[in-house]
Protein backbone atom coordinates (compact mmCIF):
# COMPACT_ATOMS: atom_id res chain seq x y z
CA UNK A 1 0.00 0.00 0.00
CA UNK A 2 1.46 3.30 -1.05
CA UNK A 3 0.70 6.40 0.91
CA UNK A 4 -0.22 9.64 -0.79
CA UNK A 5 2.07 12.58 -0.09
CA UNK A 6 0.52 15.94 0.77
CA UNK A 7 2.18 19.35 0.61
CA UNK A 8 2.95 19.12 4.34
CA UNK A 9 4.85 15.86 3.89
CA UNK A 10 6.95 17.25 1.08
CA UNK A 11 7.77 20.36 3.09
CA UNK A 12 8.77 18.09 5.97
CA UNK A 13 11.07 16.01 3.76
CA UNK A 14 12.69 19.16 2.40
CA UNK A 15 13.21 20.40 5.93
CA UNK A 16 14.79 17.07 6.90
CA UNK A 17 17.25 17.11 4.02
CA UNK A 18 18.27 20.72 4.66
CA UNK A 19 18.64 20.05 8.37
CA UNK A 20 20.87 17.02 7.81
CA UNK A 21 23.09 18.83 5.33
CA UNK A 22 23.52 21.84 7.62
CA UNK A 23 24.15 19.57 10.60
CA UNK A 24 26.88 17.61 8.83
CA UNK A 25 28.48 20.79 7.48
CA UNK A 26 28.57 22.48 10.88
CA UNK A 27 29.98 19.35 12.51
CA UNK A 28 32.65 18.69 9.92
CA UNK A 29 33.70 22.19 8.89
CA UNK A 30 36.10 22.90 11.80
CA UNK A 31 37.87 19.57 11.31
CA UNK A 32 38.17 19.91 7.53
CA UNK A 33 39.29 23.50 7.92
CA UNK A 34 42.02 22.49 10.39
CA UNK A 35 43.08 19.72 8.03
CA UNK A 36 43.31 22.16 5.12
CA UNK A 37 45.35 24.66 7.14
CA UNK A 38 47.68 21.90 8.34
CA UNK A 39 48.55 21.04 4.72
CA UNK A 40 48.81 24.65 3.62
CA UNK A 41 51.94 26.77 3.58
CA UNK A 42 52.02 28.72 6.85
CA UNK A 43 52.81 32.05 5.26
CA UNK A 44 50.13 31.53 2.65
CA UNK A 45 47.51 30.87 5.35
CA UNK A 46 48.00 34.41 6.62
CA UNK A 47 47.38 36.02 3.25
CA UNK A 48 44.75 33.62 1.88
CA UNK A 49 41.58 32.47 3.57
CA UNK A 50 41.66 28.70 3.73
CA UNK A 51 38.35 26.88 3.95
CA UNK A 52 38.13 23.34 2.63
CA UNK A 53 41.13 22.88 0.37
CA UNK A 54 44.77 23.93 0.89
CA UNK A 55 45.86 26.74 -1.41
CA UNK A 56 49.56 25.97 -1.42
CA UNK A 57 50.22 22.34 -0.51
CA UNK A 58 53.03 21.46 1.86
CA UNK A 59 53.87 18.84 4.49
CA UNK A 60 56.35 21.13 6.24
CA UNK A 61 53.96 21.75 9.12
CA UNK A 62 53.90 18.05 9.96
CA UNK A 63 57.65 17.77 9.64
CA UNK A 64 57.95 20.70 12.03
CA UNK A 65 55.66 19.02 14.55
CA UNK A 66 57.58 15.76 14.53
CA UNK A 67 60.90 17.61 14.66
CA UNK A 68 59.92 19.20 17.93
CA UNK A 69 61.42 17.37 20.90
CA UNK A 70 58.43 18.30 23.11
CA UNK A 71 55.88 16.73 20.78
CA UNK A 72 57.86 13.54 20.28
CA UNK A 73 58.20 13.00 24.02
CA UNK A 74 54.56 13.96 24.57
CA UNK A 75 53.46 11.44 21.97
CA UNK A 76 55.38 8.64 23.71
CA UNK A 77 53.97 9.52 27.13
CA UNK A 78 50.44 9.83 25.74
CA UNK A 79 50.59 6.43 24.07
CA UNK A 80 52.11 4.89 27.20
CA UNK A 81 49.48 6.29 29.54
CA UNK A 82 46.70 5.32 27.17
CA UNK A 83 47.87 1.71 26.89
CA UNK A 84 48.89 1.15 30.51
CA UNK A 85 46.05 3.19 31.97
CA UNK A 86 43.41 1.47 29.89
CA UNK A 87 44.65 -2.04 30.66
CA UNK A 88 44.91 -1.31 34.36
CA UNK A 89 41.47 0.31 34.43
CA UNK A 90 39.87 -2.58 32.62
CA UNK A 91 41.37 -5.19 34.95
CA UNK A 92 40.52 -3.47 38.23
CA UNK A 93 37.08 -2.24 37.20
CA UNK A 94 36.05 -5.65 35.91
CA UNK A 95 37.27 -7.38 39.09
CA UNK A 96 35.43 -4.83 41.21
CA UNK A 97 32.25 -5.19 39.15
CA UNK A 98 32.52 -8.97 39.37
CA UNK A 99 32.94 -8.93 43.15
CA UNK A 100 30.02 -6.56 43.65
CA UNK A 101 27.70 -8.44 41.32
CA UNK A 102 28.16 -11.82 43.10
CA UNK A 103 24.92 -12.62 44.91
CA UNK A 104 26.62 -14.53 47.72
CA UNK A 105 29.44 -12.04 48.36
CA UNK A 106 29.36 -11.38 52.09
CA UNK A 107 29.77 -7.61 51.94
CA UNK A 108 27.83 -7.01 48.73
CA UNK A 109 25.63 -4.18 50.07
CA UNK A 110 28.17 -2.25 52.12
CA UNK A 111 30.90 -2.55 49.50
CA UNK A 112 28.57 -1.31 46.75
CA UNK A 113 27.62 1.67 48.88
CA UNK A 114 31.31 2.38 49.56
CA UNK A 115 31.87 2.87 45.82
CA UNK A 116 28.62 4.63 44.97
CA UNK A 117 29.48 7.29 47.58
CA UNK A 118 32.70 8.08 45.68
CA UNK A 119 30.58 9.21 42.74
CA UNK A 120 29.00 11.99 44.76
CA UNK A 121 31.62 13.02 47.30
CA UNK A 122 35.21 13.79 46.47
CA UNK A 123 37.98 15.68 48.17
CA UNK A 124 38.35 18.29 45.47
CA UNK A 125 41.42 19.61 43.73
CA UNK A 126 43.58 20.78 46.60
CA UNK A 127 43.16 17.99 49.19
CA UNK A 128 43.69 15.50 46.35
CA UNK A 129 46.84 17.32 45.35
CA UNK A 130 48.18 17.19 48.90
CA UNK A 131 47.45 13.47 49.19
CA UNK A 132 49.15 12.70 45.87
CA UNK A 133 52.13 14.73 46.96
CA UNK A 134 52.39 12.77 50.21
CA UNK A 135 52.21 9.51 48.23
CA UNK A 136 55.03 10.73 45.96
CA UNK A 137 52.75 10.47 42.97
CA UNK A 138 53.39 14.03 41.85
CA UNK A 139 56.28 14.48 39.44
CA UNK A 140 55.90 10.95 38.17
CA UNK A 141 54.26 9.08 35.33
CA UNK A 142 52.15 6.97 37.68
CA UNK A 143 49.92 9.88 38.69
CA UNK A 144 48.28 9.48 35.28
CA UNK A 145 47.29 5.84 35.60
CA UNK A 146 46.95 4.85 39.25
CA UNK A 147 44.59 7.39 40.87
CA UNK A 148 41.87 7.16 38.23
CA UNK A 149 42.11 3.41 37.67
CA UNK A 150 38.93 2.53 39.55
CA UNK A 151 35.91 4.58 38.64
CA UNK A 152 32.54 3.88 40.17
CA UNK A 153 30.77 4.88 36.97
CA UNK A 154 32.70 2.46 34.75
CA UNK A 155 32.33 -0.23 37.38
CA UNK A 156 28.55 0.24 37.41
CA UNK A 157 28.37 -0.08 33.64
CA UNK A 158 30.19 -3.43 33.81
CA UNK A 159 28.16 -4.55 36.83
CA UNK A 160 24.87 -3.84 35.08
CA UNK A 161 26.04 -6.00 32.21
CA UNK A 162 27.17 -8.80 34.54
CA UNK A 163 23.84 -8.71 36.36
CA UNK A 164 22.27 -9.74 33.07
CA UNK A 165 24.26 -12.99 32.91
CA UNK A 166 22.17 -15.91 34.25
CA UNK A 167 23.20 -17.23 37.68
CA UNK A 168 22.86 -20.81 36.49
CA UNK A 169 26.18 -20.50 34.64
CA UNK A 170 27.99 -19.68 37.86
CA UNK A 171 26.15 -22.39 39.81
CA UNK A 172 26.92 -25.16 37.36
CA UNK A 173 30.59 -24.14 37.30
CA UNK A 174 30.66 -24.25 41.09
CA UNK A 175 29.28 -27.78 41.05
CA UNK A 176 32.11 -28.68 38.74
CA UNK A 177 34.46 -27.38 41.40
CA UNK A 178 35.40 -23.98 39.96
CA UNK A 179 36.29 -21.21 42.40
CA UNK A 180 35.29 -17.56 42.02
CA UNK A 181 38.54 -16.62 40.29
CA UNK A 182 38.19 -19.41 37.74
CA UNK A 183 34.56 -18.46 37.08
CA UNK A 184 35.60 -14.83 36.54
CA UNK A 185 38.34 -15.66 34.10
CA UNK A 186 36.81 -18.44 32.07
CA UNK A 187 33.03 -17.91 32.25
CA UNK A 188 32.04 -14.34 33.06
CA UNK A 189 34.80 -12.38 31.29
CA UNK A 190 34.38 -14.03 27.86
CA UNK A 191 30.68 -13.13 28.01
CA UNK A 192 31.48 -9.54 28.93
CA UNK A 193 33.46 -8.74 25.78
CA UNK A 194 30.95 -6.11 24.52
CA UNK A 195 30.97 -4.15 27.77
CA UNK A 196 34.74 -4.51 28.09
CA UNK A 197 35.05 -3.01 24.60
CA UNK A 198 32.86 -0.09 25.69
CA UNK A 199 34.92 0.59 28.80
CA UNK A 200 38.16 0.24 26.84
CA UNK A 201 36.93 2.93 24.45
CA UNK A 202 35.74 5.26 27.24
CA UNK A 203 38.95 4.96 29.25
CA UNK A 204 41.28 5.11 26.24
CA UNK A 205 39.61 8.30 25.01
CA UNK A 206 39.84 9.76 28.51
CA UNK A 207 43.57 9.06 28.68
CA UNK A 208 44.23 10.27 25.17
CA UNK A 209 42.46 13.56 25.82
CA UNK A 210 43.68 14.21 29.37
CA UNK A 211 45.95 17.18 30.06
CA UNK A 212 44.92 18.71 33.38
CA UNK A 213 46.85 16.15 35.44
CA UNK A 214 49.95 16.85 33.37
CA UNK A 215 49.65 20.56 34.14
CA UNK A 216 48.89 20.17 37.84
CA UNK A 217 51.13 17.30 38.89
CA UNK A 218 53.97 17.35 36.37
CA UNK A 219 54.28 20.98 35.39
CA UNK A 220 58.02 21.11 36.00
CA UNK A 221 58.75 17.80 34.30
CA UNK A 222 58.79 18.03 30.54
CA UNK A 223 59.62 14.34 30.28
CA UNK A 224 56.07 13.56 31.48
CA UNK A 225 54.25 16.00 29.24
CA UNK A 226 51.31 14.81 27.13
CA UNK A 227 50.08 15.80 23.66
CA UNK A 228 47.01 17.69 24.78
CA UNK A 229 49.03 19.72 27.25
CA UNK A 230 51.48 20.70 24.52
CA UNK A 231 48.54 21.78 22.36
CA UNK A 232 47.10 23.70 25.28
CA UNK A 233 50.35 25.60 25.84
CA UNK A 234 50.43 26.56 22.16
CA UNK A 235 46.84 27.70 22.34
CA UNK A 236 47.59 29.90 25.35
CA UNK A 237 50.50 31.51 23.51
CA UNK A 238 48.22 32.07 20.53
CA UNK A 239 45.64 33.78 22.74
CA UNK A 240 48.25 36.15 24.14
CA UNK A 241 49.92 37.08 20.85
CA UNK A 242 46.82 37.44 18.73
CA UNK A 243 47.99 40.60 16.96
CA UNK A 244 51.58 39.72 16.10
CA UNK A 245 51.00 38.49 12.56
CA UNK A 246 53.06 41.32 11.11
CA UNK A 247 56.10 40.30 13.08
CA UNK A 248 55.86 36.81 11.70
CA UNK A 249 55.79 38.02 8.12
CA UNK A 250 59.18 39.56 8.63
CA UNK A 251 60.73 36.61 10.43
CA UNK A 252 61.32 34.69 7.21
CA UNK A 253 60.00 31.32 8.32
CA UNK A 254 57.08 29.76 6.47
CA UNK A 255 55.91 27.81 9.48
CA UNK A 256 53.58 29.88 11.63
CA UNK A 257 52.20 29.00 15.06
CA UNK A 258 48.76 28.67 13.45
CA UNK A 259 49.88 26.14 10.88
CA UNK A 260 51.94 24.10 13.31
CA UNK A 261 49.04 24.07 15.75
CA UNK A 262 46.73 22.85 13.01
CA UNK A 263 49.13 20.02 12.19
CA UNK A 264 49.51 19.10 15.86
CA UNK A 265 45.73 19.11 16.27
CA UNK A 266 45.32 16.73 13.35
CA UNK A 267 48.04 14.42 14.70
CA UNK A 268 46.20 14.34 18.02
CA UNK A 269 42.79 13.77 16.45
CA UNK A 270 43.61 11.11 13.90
CA UNK A 271 43.95 7.98 16.08
CA UNK A 272 40.56 8.59 17.68
CA UNK A 273 38.80 9.51 14.45
CA UNK A 274 39.95 6.28 12.87
CA UNK A 275 38.98 4.03 15.75
CA UNK A 276 35.62 5.28 16.96
CA UNK A 277 33.43 4.42 13.93
CA UNK A 278 34.40 0.75 14.30
CA UNK A 279 33.50 0.65 17.96
CA UNK A 280 30.17 2.37 17.45
CA UNK A 281 27.96 -0.61 18.16
CA UNK A 282 29.81 -1.22 21.43
CA UNK A 283 29.49 2.24 22.90
CA UNK A 284 25.85 2.48 21.91
CA UNK A 285 25.00 -0.63 23.95
CA UNK A 286 27.40 0.37 26.71
CA UNK A 287 25.80 3.76 27.12
CA UNK A 288 22.32 2.31 27.12
CA UNK A 289 22.95 -0.27 29.84
CA UNK A 290 25.04 2.16 31.82
CA UNK A 291 22.71 5.11 31.70
CA UNK A 292 19.42 3.44 32.40
CA UNK A 293 19.59 1.87 35.80
CA UNK A 294 17.12 -0.83 36.66
Amino acid sequence: MKKKYGAGDIAFEVFLVIFLIVFVMVTLYPVINTLAISFNDGFDTITHRIHFIPHQWTTDNYKAVFAKEGYRQAAIVTVARTVIGTLLSLVVNSILAYVISRKKFLFKKSFSLFWVITMYVNGGLIPTYIVFQKLHLTNSFWVYVIPGAVSAFNMLVIRNFMNGIPDSLEESAQIDGAGYFKIFVSIISPLCKPVYATITLFVAVYHWNAWFDAMIYNKMHDEYTVLQYELMKQLQTAMKSAGSVEGLKNSGTTITPTSIRAAATIVTMVPILFIYPFLQRYFVTGLTIGGVKE
Binding site: V99, I130, E171, V292
Partner: protein, 319 residues
Amino acid sequence: MARNTINSLGTADLRTKKTNKWAEARRQPFLLISSALLLIYGIIFYYVPVLGWITAFQDYKPAKGFLKSQWVGFAKFQKLFENKTFYLAFRNTLAMGVINLVFHFLTAIAFALILNEVRVMFAKKFVQTISYMPHFLSWIIVTAIVRDILSADGIVNEFLMNVCGNKMPIDFFAVKGYFWWIVAAANVWKETGWNAIIYLAAITAIDPALYEAADMDGATRFQKVWYITLPSLRPTIMILLLINIGNVLNAGFELQYILGNDVISDVSKILDVFILDWGISQFDFSLGTAAGIFKSVIALILVCLGNWTAKRTGDERLF
Protein backbone atom coordinates in the same frame (compact mmCIF):
# COMPACT_ATOMS: atom_id res chain seq x y z
CA MET B 1 22.04 -28.49 41.22
CA ALA B 2 20.31 -31.14 43.32
CA ARG B 3 23.31 -31.55 45.61
CA ASN B 4 23.44 -27.83 46.14
CA THR B 5 19.83 -27.69 47.27
CA ILE B 6 20.19 -30.54 49.71
CA ASN B 7 23.34 -29.00 51.05
CA SER B 8 21.81 -25.62 51.73
CA LEU B 9 18.70 -27.15 53.31
CA GLY B 10 20.87 -29.33 55.53
CA THR B 11 23.09 -26.55 56.73
CA ALA B 12 20.13 -24.31 57.44
CA ASP B 13 18.68 -26.98 59.73
CA LEU B 14 21.81 -28.00 61.55
CA ARG B 15 23.98 -24.97 61.96
CA THR B 16 23.60 -21.44 63.19
CA LYS B 17 23.72 -18.54 60.78
CA LYS B 18 27.18 -17.54 62.00
CA THR B 19 28.93 -20.76 61.06
CA ASN B 20 27.06 -20.57 57.77
CA LYS B 21 28.76 -17.27 57.10
CA TRP B 22 32.15 -18.72 57.90
CA ALA B 23 31.55 -21.57 55.52
CA GLU B 24 30.58 -19.06 52.83
CA ALA B 25 33.67 -16.96 53.54
CA ARG B 26 35.85 -20.01 53.04
CA ARG B 27 34.32 -20.48 49.63
CA GLN B 28 35.10 -16.94 48.41
CA PRO B 29 38.76 -16.17 49.11
CA PHE B 30 39.12 -14.43 45.72
CA LEU B 31 36.19 -12.13 46.40
CA LEU B 32 37.39 -11.28 49.91
CA ILE B 33 41.03 -10.67 49.03
CA SER B 34 40.32 -8.55 45.96
CA SER B 35 37.67 -6.55 47.78
CA ALA B 36 40.08 -5.92 50.65
CA LEU B 37 42.70 -4.59 48.23
CA LEU B 38 40.14 -2.46 46.42
CA LEU B 39 38.90 -1.18 49.78
CA ILE B 40 42.39 0.02 50.67
CA TYR B 41 42.71 1.62 47.23
CA GLY B 42 39.33 3.34 47.59
CA ILE B 43 40.15 4.65 51.05
CA ILE B 44 43.48 6.09 49.90
CA PHE B 45 42.32 7.70 46.66
CA TYR B 46 38.71 8.63 47.41
CA TYR B 47 38.19 8.87 51.17
CA VAL B 48 41.49 10.27 52.47
CA PRO B 49 41.19 13.35 50.19
CA VAL B 50 37.80 13.99 51.78
CA LEU B 51 39.54 13.98 55.17
CA GLY B 52 41.66 16.73 53.62
CA TRP B 53 38.60 18.94 54.01
CA ILE B 54 39.87 19.73 57.52
CA THR B 55 42.45 22.00 55.86
CA ALA B 56 39.57 24.40 55.19
CA PHE B 57 39.28 24.90 58.96
CA GLN B 58 42.99 25.46 59.37
CA ASP B 59 45.51 27.96 58.16
CA TYR B 60 47.17 25.14 56.29
CA LYS B 61 50.89 25.42 55.64
CA PRO B 62 52.39 22.61 53.54
CA ALA B 63 55.53 22.67 55.67
CA LYS B 64 53.55 22.07 58.87
CA GLY B 65 51.12 19.47 57.53
CA PHE B 66 47.65 18.58 58.75
CA LEU B 67 48.59 18.05 62.36
CA LYS B 68 50.60 21.17 63.16
CA SER B 69 48.78 23.79 61.09
CA GLN B 70 46.87 26.33 63.11
CA TRP B 71 43.10 25.86 63.53
CA VAL B 72 41.06 28.86 62.45
CA GLY B 73 37.48 27.57 62.57
CA PHE B 74 35.27 29.16 59.94
CA ALA B 75 37.58 32.10 59.27
CA LYS B 76 38.48 30.79 55.79
CA PHE B 77 34.82 30.44 54.88
CA GLN B 78 34.22 33.96 56.14
CA LYS B 79 37.06 35.20 53.96
CA LEU B 80 35.58 33.26 51.07
CA PHE B 81 32.11 34.74 51.43
CA GLU B 82 33.56 38.24 51.67
CA ASN B 83 35.36 37.73 48.37
CA LYS B 84 33.54 39.37 45.48
CA THR B 85 35.27 37.21 42.87
CA PHE B 86 33.94 34.11 44.61
CA TYR B 87 30.34 35.30 44.20
CA LEU B 88 30.94 36.05 40.56
CA ALA B 89 32.57 32.65 40.05
CA PHE B 90 29.65 30.91 41.72
CA ARG B 91 27.10 32.86 39.69
CA ASN B 92 28.97 32.17 36.45
CA THR B 93 29.32 28.46 37.19
CA LEU B 94 25.64 28.15 38.00
CA ALA B 95 24.55 30.22 35.00
CA MET B 96 26.68 28.31 32.51
CA GLY B 97 25.72 25.01 34.12
CA VAL B 98 22.00 25.76 33.83
CA ILE B 99 22.29 27.09 30.28
CA ASN B 100 24.27 24.00 29.28
CA LEU B 101 21.74 21.71 30.95
CA VAL B 102 18.80 23.28 29.15
CA PHE B 103 20.51 23.19 25.77
CA HIS B 104 21.77 19.67 26.37
CA PHE B 105 18.24 18.38 26.77
CA LEU B 106 16.56 20.48 24.10
CA THR B 107 19.12 19.72 21.41
CA ALA B 108 19.60 16.03 22.22
CA ILE B 109 15.87 15.30 22.26
CA ALA B 110 15.20 17.38 19.16
CA PHE B 111 18.08 15.76 17.28
CA ALA B 112 16.93 12.26 18.24
CA LEU B 113 13.37 13.01 17.14
CA ILE B 114 14.47 14.50 13.83
CA LEU B 115 16.96 11.72 13.09
CA ASN B 116 14.29 9.16 13.88
CA GLU B 117 12.18 10.62 11.08
CA VAL B 118 14.88 9.89 8.51
CA ARG B 119 13.71 6.83 6.65
CA VAL B 120 16.77 6.35 4.44
CA MET B 121 18.87 4.03 6.59
CA PHE B 122 22.18 4.90 4.93
CA ALA B 123 21.70 8.63 5.50
CA LYS B 124 20.61 8.05 9.09
CA LYS B 125 23.65 5.91 9.93
CA PHE B 126 26.01 8.32 8.20
CA VAL B 127 24.68 11.39 9.99
CA GLN B 128 24.69 9.60 13.32
CA THR B 129 28.31 8.49 12.94
CA ILE B 130 29.30 12.04 12.06
CA SER B 131 27.33 13.36 15.01
CA TYR B 132 29.37 11.34 17.57
CA MET B 133 32.68 12.59 16.23
CA PRO B 134 33.03 15.84 18.22
CA HIS B 135 32.41 13.97 21.48
CA PHE B 136 35.71 12.15 21.05
CA LEU B 137 37.72 15.32 20.50
CA SER B 138 39.36 16.78 23.56
CA TRP B 139 38.14 20.02 25.08
CA ILE B 140 41.53 21.51 24.24
CA ILE B 141 40.89 20.88 20.55
CA VAL B 142 37.34 22.18 20.84
CA THR B 143 38.60 25.29 22.59
CA ALA B 144 41.10 25.82 19.78
CA ILE B 145 38.31 25.41 17.24
CA VAL B 146 36.07 27.89 19.05
CA ARG B 147 38.90 30.37 19.20
CA ASP B 148 39.71 30.01 15.50
CA ILE B 149 36.11 30.19 14.33
CA LEU B 150 35.36 33.32 16.36
CA SER B 151 38.65 35.13 15.74
CA ALA B 152 38.78 38.34 13.71
CA ASP B 153 39.51 36.42 10.50
CA GLY B 154 37.42 33.39 11.47
CA ILE B 155 34.47 32.10 9.50
CA VAL B 156 31.83 33.66 11.73
CA ASN B 157 33.18 37.16 11.25
CA GLU B 158 33.66 36.46 7.56
CA PHE B 159 30.01 35.48 7.33
CA LEU B 160 28.84 38.50 9.32
CA MET B 161 30.86 40.89 7.15
CA ASN B 162 30.09 39.38 3.77
CA VAL B 163 26.48 38.30 4.24
CA CYS B 164 25.11 40.41 7.06
CA GLY B 165 27.02 43.54 6.12
CA ASN B 166 28.98 44.11 9.33
CA LYS B 167 31.67 46.72 8.76
CA MET B 168 34.09 45.56 11.46
CA PRO B 169 34.90 42.09 12.78
CA ILE B 170 33.46 41.46 16.24
CA ASP B 171 35.94 40.61 18.98
CA PHE B 172 33.85 37.88 20.58
CA PHE B 173 36.19 37.42 23.52
CA ALA B 174 36.06 41.05 24.55
CA VAL B 175 32.30 41.38 25.02
CA LYS B 176 30.82 40.16 28.28
CA GLY B 177 27.41 39.42 26.84
CA TYR B 178 28.64 36.69 24.49
CA PHE B 179 30.70 34.40 26.66
CA TRP B 180 28.00 32.18 28.23
CA TRP B 181 26.42 31.62 24.86
CA ILE B 182 29.75 30.75 23.26
CA VAL B 183 30.21 28.10 25.96
CA ALA B 184 26.68 26.83 25.36
CA ALA B 185 27.21 26.65 21.60
CA ALA B 186 30.50 24.77 22.02
CA ASN B 187 28.76 22.25 24.28
CA VAL B 188 25.95 21.81 21.80
CA TRP B 189 28.42 21.28 18.96
CA LYS B 190 30.43 18.73 20.93
CA GLU B 191 27.79 16.70 22.71
CA THR B 192 24.45 16.79 20.90
CA GLY B 193 25.01 13.64 18.85
CA TRP B 194 26.42 11.77 21.81
CA ASN B 195 23.62 12.80 24.16
CA ALA B 196 21.04 11.74 21.59
CA ILE B 197 22.26 8.11 21.61
CA ILE B 198 20.26 7.20 24.66
CA TYR B 199 17.07 8.77 23.30
CA LEU B 200 17.45 7.01 19.97
CA ALA B 201 17.86 3.73 21.86
CA ALA B 202 14.75 4.50 23.91
CA ILE B 203 12.78 5.31 20.75
CA THR B 204 13.53 1.89 19.24
CA ALA B 205 11.97 0.34 22.33
CA ILE B 206 8.58 1.99 21.72
CA ASP B 207 5.85 -0.49 20.75
CA PRO B 208 5.23 -0.16 16.96
CA ALA B 209 1.55 -1.01 17.56
CA LEU B 210 1.11 2.51 18.94
CA TYR B 211 2.18 4.05 15.63
CA GLU B 212 0.04 1.62 13.64
CA ALA B 213 -2.99 2.55 15.71
CA ALA B 214 -2.21 6.22 15.18
CA ASP B 215 -1.97 5.60 11.41
CA MET B 216 -5.44 4.05 11.47
CA ASP B 217 -6.77 7.17 13.14
CA GLY B 218 -5.12 9.30 10.45
CA ALA B 219 -2.49 10.97 12.63
CA THR B 220 0.07 13.15 10.88
CA ARG B 221 3.80 12.62 11.31
CA PHE B 222 4.06 15.53 13.68
CA GLN B 223 1.13 14.28 15.77
CA LYS B 224 2.77 10.88 16.12
CA VAL B 225 5.99 12.48 17.36
CA TRP B 226 4.13 14.77 19.75
CA TYR B 227 1.63 12.33 21.17
CA ILE B 228 3.53 9.00 21.05
CA THR B 229 7.30 9.39 20.79
CA LEU B 230 7.76 12.30 23.16
CA PRO B 231 5.56 10.94 26.00
CA SER B 232 7.28 7.55 25.66
CA LEU B 233 10.62 9.23 26.30
CA ARG B 234 9.43 10.80 29.54
CA PRO B 235 10.99 8.23 31.94
CA THR B 236 14.34 8.43 30.10
CA ILE B 237 14.27 12.22 30.17
CA MET B 238 13.48 12.24 33.88
CA ILE B 239 16.28 9.88 34.89
CA LEU B 240 18.83 11.73 32.76
CA LEU B 241 17.68 15.05 34.17
CA LEU B 242 18.20 13.60 37.62
CA ILE B 243 21.72 12.44 36.84
CA ASN B 244 22.63 15.74 35.24
CA ILE B 245 21.23 18.04 37.90
CA GLY B 246 24.04 16.96 40.22
CA ASN B 247 26.49 17.95 37.48
CA VAL B 248 25.18 21.47 37.04
CA LEU B 249 28.20 22.96 38.81
CA ASN B 250 30.57 21.11 36.48
CA ALA B 251 30.18 23.69 33.76
CA GLY B 252 33.30 22.65 31.90
CA PHE B 253 36.77 23.95 32.45
CA GLU B 254 38.93 24.41 29.37
CA LEU B 255 36.80 27.03 27.61
CA GLN B 256 36.64 29.20 30.70
CA TYR B 257 40.26 28.64 31.66
CA ILE B 258 41.82 29.25 28.25
CA LEU B 259 39.42 31.72 26.60
CA GLY B 260 38.69 33.74 29.72
CA ASN B 261 40.71 36.98 29.85
CA ASP B 262 40.88 40.04 32.05
CA VAL B 263 38.29 41.91 30.02
CA ILE B 264 35.55 39.32 30.48
CA SER B 265 36.69 37.59 33.69
CA ASP B 266 33.55 38.90 35.46
CA VAL B 267 31.49 36.49 33.38
CA SER B 268 34.07 33.85 32.45
CA LYS B 269 35.63 32.90 35.77
CA ILE B 270 34.16 29.73 37.24
CA LEU B 271 34.58 28.06 40.63
CA ASP B 272 37.16 25.55 39.38
CA VAL B 273 39.33 28.33 37.99
CA PHE B 274 38.86 30.29 41.21
CA ILE B 275 40.03 27.25 43.22
CA LEU B 276 43.00 26.77 40.92
CA ASP B 277 43.94 30.46 41.23
CA TRP B 278 43.89 30.43 45.00
CA GLY B 279 45.15 26.95 45.68
CA ILE B 280 47.91 26.43 43.20
CA SER B 281 48.98 29.90 42.17
CA GLN B 282 48.52 31.84 45.41
CA PHE B 283 49.23 28.90 47.74
CA ASP B 284 46.23 29.56 49.97
CA PHE B 285 45.34 25.87 50.11
CA SER B 286 42.77 26.41 52.84
CA LEU B 287 40.74 28.96 50.92
CA GLY B 288 40.77 26.80 47.80
CA THR B 289 39.63 23.80 49.81
CA ALA B 290 36.84 25.84 51.40
CA ALA B 291 35.61 26.82 47.94
CA GLY B 292 35.81 23.15 46.87
CA ILE B 293 33.74 22.08 49.88
CA PHE B 294 31.16 24.73 49.08
CA LYS B 295 30.89 23.38 45.54
CA SER B 296 30.64 19.75 46.70
CA VAL B 297 27.94 20.51 49.26
CA ILE B 298 25.81 22.43 46.76
CA ALA B 299 26.19 19.57 44.25
CA LEU B 300 25.14 17.03 46.86
CA ILE B 301 22.09 19.10 47.79
CA LEU B 302 21.13 19.29 44.11
CA VAL B 303 21.44 15.50 43.69
CA CYS B 304 19.27 14.87 46.76
CA LEU B 305 16.76 17.48 45.62
CA GLY B 306 16.51 15.84 42.20
CA ASN B 307 16.13 12.44 43.77
CA TRP B 308 13.43 13.68 46.13
CA THR B 309 11.52 15.36 43.29
CA ALA B 310 11.63 12.20 41.21
CA LYS B 311 10.32 10.21 44.17
CA ARG B 312 7.47 12.68 44.64
CA THR B 313 6.44 12.61 41.00
CA GLY B 314 6.62 8.83 40.93
CA ASP B 315 9.44 8.53 38.43
CA GLU B 316 12.52 6.39 38.73
CA ARG B 317 14.96 7.18 41.47
CA LEU B 318 18.71 7.24 41.35
CA PHE B 319 19.33 5.56 44.72
